[in-house]
């Protein structure tokens, strides 16, 4: 009789593939997915903008400006999402100041602590960069152009770019610094999110500039998109292989299908195909590929976050 002994001894029946399966989900859901998406794009855009600013030609400056101006609102949306996600949003400042002593609150070994600071610092520099940009464009007092000029300008760009990279990638490390299935079973999520963020940021900038952007700049963005997409694909394959039975447990279901279709096929393979075979969609190849990349980037975050939450 097969049913005997199965009641209440489910624990015996299947030993989970990893010690991460004994833990509780932190209920990081859609707010976090959206934050990962917009924050990643903001960070990636700042990185791309800084690259163009610091190492590009003068004709790249408009796109660099675009990158900063796009990045600021995205992080301005992302930060509040994080606060909104707190169970006690009114205490968000406890992440920066010890509520009991008034001293700074910083733990370099806690991704959520240094992440909070990282996002904050990034927000500051991207704000400065964006303010400078708006001054350059005449929307703000000319004196603020200082932020885009000389050593100050270079420093602002460099720091915005560096912290942008941080914001693009730390979210994956944040997930890894848990004991949750999938998240804590790999060390590749930071890299994966970083690459996906750069590719998505490139896609956003392409979408916003492909009609008017300097061809060289847009072309460079498209190249960055291709590089990051290719690396992302490789990383994803390595990730799945290294996860082994955990991947089967977490993704051997609808989430896996979604990842395969949404991210691998729509978000990586189709855009690459459009890139290498532009005649497929003619003039629309570039924006189409960019739009697909964005879908893929969003699906990637949704699947990574929510599939583990669903365990």
């Amino acid at each position: 009789m097969t049913s005997i002994g199965s009641i209440g001894s489910l624990v015996l029946a299947q030993t989970p593939p990893s010690d991460t399966f004994y833990t509780h989900a932190p209920e990081w859901t859609w707010l976090i997915v959206v934050y990962f998406f917009v924050g990643g794009i903001a960070g990636g855009a700042a990185f791309l903008g800084a690259m163009l600013d610091l190492f590009g030609a003068p004709q790249d400056r408009p796109l660099a400006r675009l990158a900063y101006v796009v990045s600021l609102p995205l992080i301005a949306i992302g930060g509040p999402l994080l606060i909104w996600d707190l169970n006690r949003p009114e205490r968000f400042w406890h992440m920066f100041i010890q509520s009991e002593t008034g001293r700074p609150m910083f733990k370099y070994w806690s991704p959520i602590s240094f992440g909070a600071w990282g996002v904050g610092v990034f927000g500051l520099f991207i704000f400065l960069a964006a303010v400078g940009t708006l001054a350059e464009l005449g929307h703000l007092p000319a004196s603020l152009r200082l932020l885009r000029e000389g050593v100050v300008g270079k420093a602002v760009s460099a720091l915005a770019g560096l912290f942008g990279l941080f914001v693009a990638g730390y979210t994956g490390i944040l997930l890894a610094a848990t004991n949750r299935p999938l998240w804590a079973d790999t060390t590749l999520l930071g890299l994966l999110f970083l690459l996906s963020s750069i590719s998505a940021a490139a896609a956003v900038l392409i979408l916003l500039s492909w009609r008017w952007g300097h061809q060289g700049s847009v072309h460079w963005l498209a190249e960055m998109d291709v590089y990051s997409s290719l690396l992302e694909l490789v990383t994803l394959i390595v990730l799945v292989i290294s996860l082994g039975s955990v991947a089967l447990e977490v993704w051997g279901n609808g989430w896996g299908v979604l990842l395969l279709v949404g991210t691998v096929l729509i978000g990586i393979l189709l855009p690459l195909a459009l890139h290498f075979r532009p005649h497929l969609a003619g003039r629309m190849s570039l924006p189409s590929a960019a739009a697909l990349v964005l879908i893929g980037a969003f699906v990637l975050r949704a699947v990574v976050v929510l599939s583990s939450e669903a365990v």
Binding site: I4, G5, G8
Partner: protein, 866 residues
Amino acid sequence: MAECHPVAFRWVSQAKLQGAKLIHVDPRFTRTSALADIHAPVRAGSDIAFLGGMINHVINSERWNTEPFFKEYVVNYTNAATIINAEFKDTEDLDGLFSGLGEYKEGAWGLNGFVGQYDNKTWQYEAAPVGDQGRTANTGQSGEQPVESGQPGAEPAPAPPGPPYDPLIQAMPRPTPNRDPSLQDPRCVFQILKKHYSRYTPEMVERVTGCPRDRFVQVAETLLQNSGPDRTSAFCYAVAWTQHTTGVQMIGAAALLQLLLGNIGRPGGGVMALRGHATIQGSTDIPTLYHSIHGYMPHPTALKKHNSVAEYLQTETLPKGFWSGMPKFFVSYLKSMYGDAATPQNDFGFAWHPRIAGDHSHMPMMLAMSEGRVKGMFAMGQNPAVGGQNAGFQRKALAKLEWLVVKDNFETETAAFWRTSPEVKNGQLKMEEIQTEVFLFPSAQVAEMDGSYTNTQRLVKWHHKAVDPPGDCRSDPWFTYHLGKRLKAMYAGSTAPRDQGFLNLVWNFEPNPEEVADSRIKDEPSVYAMMREINGFQTATGEHLKAIGDIKDDGSTTCASWIYCGVYPEEGRLLAASREPDPDPLPGANLNWGYSWPSNRRVIYNRASARPDGQPWSERKKWIWWDPTKGDPAKNEKGKWVGYDVPDFPPAKAPDTPADPNGIGMAAHSGTDPFILKADGKGWLFTPTGLVDGPLPTHYEPVETPVKNPLYSQQNNPVYKNWAREGNEIAPPEDPSYPYVLSTYRLTEHHLSGVMSRWLPWLAELQPELFAEISPELAEEKEINNTDMIRIITPRGEIQAKALVTPRLQPLMVADKTIHHVGLPWHWGYQGLVTGAVVNDLSSLIGDPNVSMHEGKSFVCNVEKA
């Protein structure tokens, strides 16, 4: 025990940590089984077959027949050697019946319910007539009509008046039973019981109980090996033994086995009754039982010769042993009832005392209620709408009341029967037609009042009030005391004879101002004054009695409950409140931790803890012993009983003291008679009087059962109580419509009908819904999945519950049939935070013939997927 008495189980756990073996015999694998070394599954209701098998195994074992301890204990301390009446016929002779069975005719009360009755004349000791060895139950007689005088059948000499009552006792016949210490006489108790249990073989045990025979033998052997001069074993049981039509005999079988193994009166031995809830022991000591008054004295009855104190004493007193003191206990009790109004001239007010007229226990009273013979009811901490058997029947009976008072913590199912019961919902009762006026009084909790608990081992422990109860909540003493005061005021001035007893009732428990100084409730009666009355005092001076020996039969002492005498030996020194543990190292009896009645004895009959010569059976198990050096020469004492405990024996009575054939009381016992409450001073393997359904425990099937009795052609208890009524239908044996055995029980997480647990979120969430436990085999047979809703059907009703499919239940092979059990915890009802069907809607109104206990532990049902 772990399941229903987790706190008491701490001692079992500690024993386990020291290497003790734990055996659990239960149809289900419960939380107790989880901790047990051996779990023996048995069919519900087959316990006597299991115990009888162990008795048979023990007396035929090599160890029992070679280790001298057993014979020495049994021959000296039990009635094994006593010769029984030559006319006695055993179940072996009459295929499951004892001699003396006759027809039962109902008397005027009409609700005693017996299906037959035994005349126990032939069960008596040879040369010792009826009544000499113990009392018969008050409702065990046929054709009970109020009697003017005399006990049916017997006509003793007219009772000499008293006080003093010593002449009355002296005038009573006190023959000495014949004995054969070699245990060879075929009419001696040992030979009768050996023959009686000879058919209880391991094969038969397996056939009746379903317990695999090797498991049974393992249990019997473990018990046997763990009994002897330096080891003892204890039995613990709870309501699973009482709630059968053979419940008293089940417990009797355990006592019999323990006597055979020398496990009575010794530390670590005994049979422990784990009571249904806190201070159930206390509520039988100072009873809520209808048939006894304080201290286990029989309730005056209209059915026996109880026309005067002398007649009552002559009918009820045992002239030999400790019960010969009953005149003192009874007169002092009457003084506690009527105080100064009780005088020798008016026979201490005995005529005012209420009489019983039949079986007034819970089930007959509810039946009387259903017939419209009961006008009002107080339900204080009782919830018969859920806890009563055939609860639907009982709820309908409530609707016949004129008034109902419920005093409880919440609006119980009983209080709300008129608006939310299933009968009101399904139209069997119409709310607008129910005339019952319901009064709901809010009750204080235990932590909101001072008072005492008496635990299963007779340990009286005081508890102190922590806080005042909120709002209008009041303690039971407050409610009862003020009700009495108001009624007394209403009756004041009445000259009706029936009111005189109530008017003369002593009713003065006004608090000492100090007692209520910290309380908001200034009219809370003094529970200390109540304890003083229970303990007893000198009538003239008010000085507290120090010990049972102080109690007098002439009215000079007042004592409500003789067994508690000594608990409060002086003002300001309530021993129930003492909390001084013995210092390490053990053993110690912890005599300063609470107070154990009688006289603070922790192990009752503890004379048996020493050999007949007074020396301990072993160093490891010594408890009290005779010390010839401790005697007081001035009193001509040869020595003293000393040890860890208070001796349950005359303290200076030497082991070699012979019984005085002309003596009364303790003088009639020898120095080797440990069972001082018994007329012959022996532990009874064979019960000549006192039980109405046989002198030796015999396996009968439960009244509702899926099998024929494999042991005898007599199917069930020949004298059980059956109240056949419409709405109380009983399934015949082997009824194919009801193939499964149903047992009701409790869970750790809830208490009784749930009034103290189902209203509490913390407890409710632990076991939120009613469930029926079934085995995976039955589930498969009936295509039931775990947590499916199922219907459980009996002749009385049908309920729905979620199925909890678990391998902890298993089918048992009984008499070549596969028997499935259905387990139902009965904590749910239609009121409270978490609700569920009332399981007792399924059970029936039938009873054990000795104590009118129902058979909720074993009846039959069918199960279907809902």
